[in-house]
């Protein structure tokens, strides 16, 4: 069926994170794509079963270095539901501000990566510089640039003063202005737009069937956003739009993400009007056995946490990050495409392998199977097939 097999990875300069991708090619067209994960698997779900809830909060944060707050927040929601706690309005709004700043920095990082791949390095540099602005704000709020450790059960760890709020208001406006500039710049560059137009197409029907989430789904015309549908935290209190696009290609995903940066700024400005309350929550909780779930809109899409609570530690924690859902669309996006567009398809879903690899199920039987498969790969490498 295919005449060439192109292996990417496990360590490849394109993706940086370790994973193996095999692309089967015939006449420069992609016939099939295969994934081999596990290079990032750390067994977080299993470790969580031996740690108390306050420690798991910090553990789940380390699933991913880009959307760490989404995991932190989702886990705290699952525990709060189990314990019957609820954060007050100020805490909810502080959570909202951090979540939206995280979305801004994640989208800008992605925009930088894509621009770098398309050899528009000036846009990469600009996106990374803007991203620093949002990271500075996050550092000011929480004390850290990444892994903010924000959530407590029924509240947040840090409060913010008027000075910080003013700075946030000022700097997010700058980010929005710059995002507008970047949007116009991207759309005016023919070489950028032409390269993305019609690439990695996913129509609405297929997107629904494959169950994609987040900006990938929204770029295919599906109006899904947990912030609207699930109404968690302070999102029901504010007014915002769910950005969608009908085109369903890599260009649509670019447009959706850049517009979401602007929308996030609108949200942050609304969150800044908050009542004077004490936002702190509980640090330690004791729960009764109960099964709860939490759905959070992470920058890449729906982040789902399932918690089977024990008294002091989780009996079972199961997590489905957005990348896992979006992976499933990759064969659909790439089959029939020219080989030069296959990496673009991968970039356009904004994959995060450190998120996805955590979800690998390992029992003795399958682990053996995986290891066999792994040695098989090494053997082929040694024969020079890679």
């Amino acid at each position: 069926m295919h005449d060439t097999k192109i292996p990417l990875g496990a360590f490849h300069p394109l993706t940086k994170e370790p994973e193996q991708l095999k692309i089967y090619v015939k006449d420069k067209k992609v016939m099939d794509t295969e994934f081999f994960l596990g290079y990032n698997h750390r067994g977080i779900e299993k470790i969580a079963e031996n740690r108390t809830y306050d420690k798991v909060l910090y553990l789940v944060e380390r699933i991913c270095g880009i959307c760490s707050n989404a995991h932190n927040s989702a886990f705290s929601h699952a525990v709060e539901e189990s314990a019957g706690l609820e954060a007050n309005e100020r805490a909810k709004k502080i959570r909202g501000i951090v979540a939206e700043l995280e979305r801004i920095q994640s989208h800008l990082l992605w925009l930088g990566t894509q621009s770098h791949y398309l050899e528009h390095d000036d846009l990469f540099k600009q996106a990374m510089t803007d991203r620093e602005t949002s990271l500075d704000l996050l550092e000011k709020i929480s004390g850290k640039r990444i892994h903010y450790g924000l959530a407590e059960f029924g509240g947040v760890k840090t409060d913010m003063n008027k000075e910080t709020m003013k700075e946030i208001e000022k700097k997010t406006d700058v980010i929005e202005e710059n995002a507008k500039d970047i949007y116009e710049e991207v759309m005016s560059r023919e070489s950028y737009v032409d390269r993305l137009k019609g690439v990695a197409k996913l129509n609405k029907k297929k997107a629904r069937e494959l169950g994609v989430v987040g900006p990938v789904a929204r770029a295919s015309g599906i109006k899904m956003d947990n912030r609207k549908d699930n109404e968690y935290d302070a999102y029901p209190l504010v007014d915002f739009e769910v950005i969608t696009d009908k085109k369903g290609d890599a260009l649509a995903r670019t447009e959706v993400r850049i517009k979401e940066i602007m929308e996030s700024n609108r949200l942050i400005n609304q969150f800044l009007e908050m009542p004077d309350q004490n936002p702190r929550g509980e640090t330690e909780v004791t729960l009764e056995e109960k099964r709860t779930t939490a759905q959070i809109e992470a920058p890449r899409g729906e982040n789902f946490h399932y918690l089977h609570a024990g008294e002091r530690t989780p009996k079972r924690l199961s997590i489905r990050p957005p990348t896992y859902a979006n992976f499933m669309a990759l064969p659909e996006m790439t089959i029939g495409e020219r080989i030069k567009n296959a990496p673009l398809a991968v970039i356009s879903i904004d994959p995060c392998f450190s998120c996805a690899d955590r979800a690998l199920i390992v029992n003795t039987e399958t682990q053996e199977e995986k290891l066999k498969d792994f040695h098989d790969i090494i053997e082929k490498n040694e024969k020079g097939e890679r």
């Binding site: 360590f11 370790p18 596990g38 290079y39 750390r42 299993k46 380390r62 270095g65 990374m128 690899d357």
Partner: protein, 141 residues
């Protein structure tokens, strides 16, 4: 140091961390933290590299690949492990069934950069130290 001297090449290997350190390395090299002062450049292959930056706790699946990639690097090579928790001591992931590290039990490591995730300023400082050491070794020959 002579400005015209060849740049030292740096390669990055992710041994299964959370990706946070990697992003901080990118931030250190391409934003206001200014890499221009150090005599380095990033390369895509460990085969060309003088300095290797490794993050993450090393796991069952990537252990062989990581060690193989480290062997490919040019001599004299320097290995820098970043990530206060997982890179240096497996940190928060200690006790997992799947971790096979930390890296210093498998390979000789030249420099550790603590904190989770590492700060961009620390990455720059660490690279400066390694470049200085490489300079000494090269000029000593």
């Amino acid at each position: 140091m002579n400005e015209k001297e060849e740049k030292y090449k740096v390669n990055y290997i992710d041994a299964g961390g959370c990706n946070g350190c990697y992003i901080e390395i990118i931030a250190a090299l391409y934003t206001k933290y200014n890499p221009e002062k150090i005599n380095i450049e990033m390369v895509g292959s460990p085969g060309q590299a003088d300095i290797l930056i490794v993050t993450g706790p090393v796991n069952t699946r990537n252990k062989e690949d990581v060690l193989k990639d480290i062997k490919k690097a040019q001599e004299p090579k320097k290995i820098m492990v970043v990530g206060g928790g997982c890179g240096i001591s497996e940190g928060i992931f200690k006790g997992s069934y799947n971790t096979r590290g930390p890296l210093d039990e498998l390979e000789e490591v030249d420099l550790y950069l603590p904190e989770c995730p590492v700060k961009p300023q620390a990455v720059i400082e660490g690279l400066k130290i390694l470049v200085e050491e490489l300079n000494k070794e090269r000029n000593g020959k």
